[in-house]
C-alpha cells in the first residue's frame, strides 16, 4: 500500500513536471507571437512578420511536446487515481471535460491553420487564427486551474452518505476565491518564461554578432514584457495567492515560510535557513524581524501561527521540500525583477544592446523561469498535501485500489525513458531552429 502510493505520486509528479515545461512557454509565447503579428499588420514592416514566423516554428515544436505529454495527464486521473476520480469525478470531471470541449478543439483546429495557412488565409485571417490559438491555450490553463482550485479550496458541493462528492452549484467552481489570483499568477509566470526565452535568444544573437536586427527586437520585447509580467507575478497576483494560503491553509503557510514557533509581537521573514525536522526548528537562519507579519496583514506586530501549533497529521507531508520550493520561487522572482529593471533602464538609455554584462545575464537566465514556475507549482501541490481535496480527502485514499506497485513502477520507468528522449529531441531541434535564426526563414 505504501509503495503503491509512492509510485502513483512519483509518476504523477514526474509526468506533470515534465509536461508543464511546455505549456508555460506555449501560453506566454502565443501572446508574444500574436503581438508580433499585430505589429506587422499595423506597421507593415516585414521584420515583425518574419519574427512571428520564426517563433511559430519554436511554438509548433513546443506545442507538439505539450500535446503528447498532456494526454497522459488526463488519463492518469483514472489509471492511477481511480478512487479519487470515482468520488469527485462529477465535479472535477466537469471542468476537465470543458477543457477538452472548449480549449483543445479550438487550439487543435486552428493551430494547423495558423501554422500552414498563412498563404491560404491572408494576413488578417492568419492573425485571427493566431488569436484563437492563444485564446484556446489560455482557456485550457483557466480550466485546469479551476480544477486545481477546487482541490485546494472545495466549493459548491455536498458529500453523500456513500462518500461521493456531488456538485450542487456549478457557478461556484468559477467564483472560487482560490481561482482568479492563482490563474492570473500562473499566466503572469507563463509570460515571464516566454519573455525570458525570447530575450535569451535575442541576447544570443547580439552576443554572437549575427541576426542583430532580430536580436535587438527579441531582447527589447522580452525585457519589456518580462518586466511587466514579473512585477504582476509578485504583486498583486502572488500576494493575493499567498493571502489565500494564510487564510485557508494556515499550516501550509507556516511550513512554506519556515515558521515553526508562533512569535509574540510579529513574525520575521526568513531569507535563508534549513528546516530541522528532528527538532522542529530552522537552522542557520537569516531573517528580518516583523516583515512577514507586515506583508501578510499590513501590521508589524500581528501574530502568525507557527507550524508546531497544528496537529502533526495535518502538517504538509514534505515540509522541507515545500519550504525550499517556495523560497526558490520567491528568490528567483526577486532576481528576475532586479535584472529586468536594470535592463529596462539601459534600454531606455538606448545602451542595452551594447551592455554585454546584461546580455550575458539575460542569456544565462534562460533556465531559471522554468525553475521558478516548477517550484511555484511544487509549492502549491506539496502545500496541499496530505490532502487531495483539502481538509476532506487524503491523498492515500485516492489511489487506484487494483493497480499494484509493480505495474506503476513499470509505467513510471517507461515514462522516464520516453520523456528523456523527448527532452533531448526538443533541445536538439529547438537549438537547430534558433541557430539558423529568423533570417533564413524567408521563403
Amino acid at each position: 500500500m505504501e509503495d503503491m502510493l509512492l509510485y502513483d505520486r512519483l509518476q504523477f509528479a514526474f509526468t506533470i513536471t515534465f509536461h508543464y515545461l511546455f505549456p508555460q512557454l506555449t501560453m506566454g509565447l502565443s501572446l508574444l507571437i500574436v503581438f508580433f503579428k499585430f505589429r506587422f499588420l499595423r506597421t507593415k514592416e516585414d521584420k515583425f512578420n518574419q519574427a512571428a514566423r520564426f517563433w511559430m516554428k519554436i511554438f509548433a515544436l513546443n506545442f507538439a511536446m505539450g500535446v503528447v505529454t498532456g494526454i497522459p495527464m488526463e488519463f492518469q486521473f483514472g489509471t492511477n487515481w481511480a478512487k479519487f476520480s470515482e468520488l469527485t469525478g462529477g465535479i472535477i470531471g466537469q471542468t476537465l471535460a470543458m477543457e477538452g470541449m472548449f480549449s483543445f478543439f479550438l487550439e487543435s483546429s486552428f493551430l494547423g491553420l495558423f501554422l500552414f495557412g498563412e498563404k491560404l488565409l491572408g494576413h488578417k485571417l492568419h492573425f485571427l487564427t493566431g488569436l484563437l490559438v492563444f485564446l484556446g491555450s489560455w482557456a485550457s490553463g483557466f480550466l485546469i486551474i479551476a480544477t486545481h482550485s477546487w482541490m485546494q479550496h472545495p466549493v459548491g458541493f455536498e458529500i453523500l452518505a456513500n462518500g461521493k462528492y456531488v456538485l450542487t452549484n456549478f457557478g461556484a467552481l468559477f467564483s472560487n476565491v482560490w481561482l482568479w489570483p492563482s490563474y492570473l499568477h500562473n499566466q503572469a509566470a507563463s509570460l515571464v518564461t516566454a519573455s525570458f526565452v525570447m530575450a535569451a535568444v535575442g541576447a544570443f544573437y547580439l552576443l554572437s554578432k549575427k541576426q542583430e536586427e532580430f536580436g535587438q527586437l527579441f531582447v527589447r520585447t522580452g525585457v519589456i514584457f518580462g518586466l511587466a509580467a514579473s512585477l504582476l507575478a509578485a504583486f498583486p497576483t502572488g500576494d493575493m495567492t499567498a493571502k489565500n494560503v494564510v487564510k485557508y491553509q494556515p499550516e501550509t503557510f507556516a511550513a512554506m515560510e519556515g515558521i515553526f514557533e508562533t512569535e509574540k509581537g510579529g513574525s520575521e521573514i526568513i531569507l535563508v535557513g534549513q528546516p530541522n525536522m528532528l527538532e522542529k526548528k530552522l537552522d542557520n537562519k537569516i531573517a528580518v524581524p516583523n516583515v512577514l507579519s507586515f506583508l501578510t496583514y499590513q501590521k508589524w506586530d500581528r501574530e502568525i501561527k507557527g507550524l508546531n501549533e497544528f496537529s502533526p497529521e495535518n502538517h504538509p507531508t514534505n515540509v522541507p521540500g515545500l519550504y525550499y520550493a517556495y523560497h526558490i520561487m520567491v528568490g528567483l522572482g526577486t532576481i528576475f525583477i532586479g535584472l529586468l529593471s536594470l535592463a529596462a533602464v539601459q534600454l531606455f538609455r538606448r545602451k542595452l544592446y551594447t551592455t554585454n554584462i546584461l546580455l550575458w545575464g539575460l542569456l544565462f537566465m534562460l533556465p531559471f523561469p522554468y525553475i521558478a514556475n516548477t517550484t511555484g507549482w511544487y509549492t502549491a501541490e506539496l502545500g496541499r498535501q496530505p490532502w487531495l481535496v483539502h481538509g476532506l480527502l487524503r491523498t492515500a485514499e485516492g489511489i487506484s485500489p487494483t493497480v499494484s506497485s509493480g505495474n506503476t513502477l513499470f509505467t513510471l520507468l517507461g515514462f522516464v525513458g520516453l520523456y528523456l528522449l523527448l527532452g533531448l529531441l526538443f533541445l536538439l531541434l529547438a537549438g537547430k531552429i534558433i541557430y539558423k535564426g529568423p533570417q533564413t526563414a524567408i521563403k
Partner: protein
C-alpha cells in the same frame, strides 16, 4: 439524462473512430505500401493539419466519460491500466513521428520517424480493437475468487494476457484469441479506411493499387467478422440475444453492411470520395451495432456475484448532468463550426498544401 450522455459519449467515440481511424489507416498504408519519398510525403500531408484535432475527440470523449460516468472512468481506466498507458506511449510515437520527421533532412532521421509513425499507427489500430473486444467479452468485476469479491464490486485489474489466451478462463487477460480477433478486424477496417482517405485526399501514384488493397482487405474483413459472430455466439450469448430483439441494432448493422458491400465496388467508382464515405459507414455502423448490442451495459461482468456496469449505476448525479448540458450545447456548436472551417480550408486534394513549412 444518463441516456442522453450515453448517446453523446458513444457518438463522440464513433466520430473519433472515423476521424483518427483514417490517420491510423494512413499510417498502416504508409508502413506497408509507400515506398517512394513523394508518396510518403503525400500521405503525411493528407493527415498533417487534421490528426491533432482528430485526437482531441478521444481526449474530449474521455472528459465526458469522466464527468458523466465517473465510476466507469475509474473502474475501466484502472482495470485496463497497462494497455491504456501503452496506448499513450504509442500516441506519443505517432505524434512525434509525424511532427519531427520534417525537422531534419537526413534519410536516417526520416526513416526512423516513418517507422515510428507507421508502427505506432498499426499497433494503435490493434489495441483499440482489442479494447472493444474486452468490452464485449466483459471482465471479472470485483475480482471474484471462489464466489467472493476481493475488491469493491466495480473494480478489477487485467494483466495483458494469461498463459492460454482463453477468453473463458477463470483468469482473464486483455489479449486472448477472442479480443485479438477484434484487434485484427480493427486493423483491416482501418487499413481500408486509411487507404480510402488517401485516395480521397491525394493524387498519389499509389491510388489505383490502393483500390485493389481495399478490395482484398474488405474480403478478409468480411470473413473475420463472420468468424467473430460465430465465435461470439458460442462464447457470450447475451449481446447476441439483444442483437435479435433490438430493431436499432438491426439498423446499425444494415448501415455497416451497406458500407461493407459498397467497398467491394471501389474499383468502379469515378468519385474519389465514395470509398471514404462507405468505409465511414462501415465503421460507424459496426461500432454502433456493437455497443448497442450490449446496451444498457457499458462493461459487462463475467461473474454472477457483481452486476455489470450500466449507464445507470455509474452515472454522476442529476444536477451535474443537467448543468453539463448547458455548456455542452454551446461547445458542440463551436466544435462543429471549427470542423467546417478546417475542412473547408483544406478541401479537395492536398498535394499542394504546404505542410511542414521547413524547406
Amino acid at each position: 439524462m444518463e441516456l442522453f450522455w450515453y448517446i453523446v459519449l458513444m457518438t463522440m467515440l464513433a466520430v473519433y473512430v472515423i476521424l483518427d481511424g483514417y490517420d491510423f489507416g494512413a499510417g498502416i498504408i504508409h508502413l506497408f505500401f509507400a515506398k517512394e519519398e513523394k508518396d510518403k510525403v503525400l500521405i503525411t500531408k493528407s493527415i498533417g493539419p487534421f490528426w491533432d484535432a482528430n485526437e482531441v475527440w478521444l481526449i474530449a470523449a474521455g472528459g465526458v466519460l469522466f464527468f458523466a460516468f465517473p465510476t466507469l472512468y475509474a473502474s475501466a481506466f484502472s482495470g485496463f491500466y497497462l494497455p491504456l498507458i501503452m496506448i499513450l506511449w504509442l500516441l506519443i510515437f505517432r505524434a512525434t513521428g509525424l511532427e519531427l520527421r520534417g525537422q531534419l533532412h537526413n534519410s536516417l532521421w526520416e526513416n526512423i520517424w516513418d517507422k515510428a509513425f507507421g508502427l505506432a499507427s498499426l499497433l494503435l489500430a490493434l489495441f483499440f480493437g482489442v479494447a472493444l473486444g474486452n468490452v464485449v467479452r466483459g471482465v471479472n468485476l470485483g475480482m471474484v475468487e471462489n464466489g467472493v469479491s476481493t475488491q469493491e464490486a466495480h473494480y478489477f485489474f487485467l494483466p495483458l494476457w494469461n498463459s492460454t489466451l482463453d477468453p473463458q478462463s477463470h483468469q482473464l487477460g486483455i489479449i486472448d484469441w477472442f479480443t485479438l480477433l477484434f484487434g485484427l478486424i480493427s486493423v483491416l477496417a482501418l487499413t481500408i479506411h486509411g487507404a480510402a482517405w488517401i485516395i480521397f485526399k491525394t493524387n498519389s501514384s499509389l491510388n489505383s493499387r490502393l483500390k485493389t488493397v481495399i478490395f482484398y482487405a474488405n474480403l478478409g474483413l468480411v470473413g473475420l467478422i463472420l468468424l467473430s459472430l460465430l465465435l461470439g455466439f458460442i462464447l457470450n450469448p447475451l449481446p447476441f440475444q439483444n442483437f435479435c430483439s433490438r430493431p436499432l441494432v438491426w439498423i446499425f448493422t444494415a448501415v455497416m453492411l451497406t458500407g461493407s458491400l459498397g467497398l467491394f465496388k471501389i474499383r468502379s467508382w469515378k468519385k474519389d470520395g465514395m470509398g471514404f464515405l462507405f468505409s465511414s459507414l462501415f465503421l460507424a455502423g459496426g461500432f454502433a451495432a456493437t455497443v448497442a448490442s450490449i446496451f444498457p451495459n457499458l462493461l459487462p461482468s463475467t461473474n454472477t456475484v457483481n452486476p455489470s456496469l450500466t449507464i445507470y449505476n455509474v452515472a454522476a448525479p442529476e444536477y451535474g448532468l443537467k448543468t453539463g448540458l448547458s455548456w455542452f450545447v454551446v461547445a458542440v456548436v463551436l466544435v462543429a463550426l471549427y470542423l467546417v472551417i478546417q475542412y473547408r480550408v483544406f478541401r479537395g486534394k492536398m498535394d499542394d498544401v504546404d505542410y511542414h513549412g521547413e524547406h
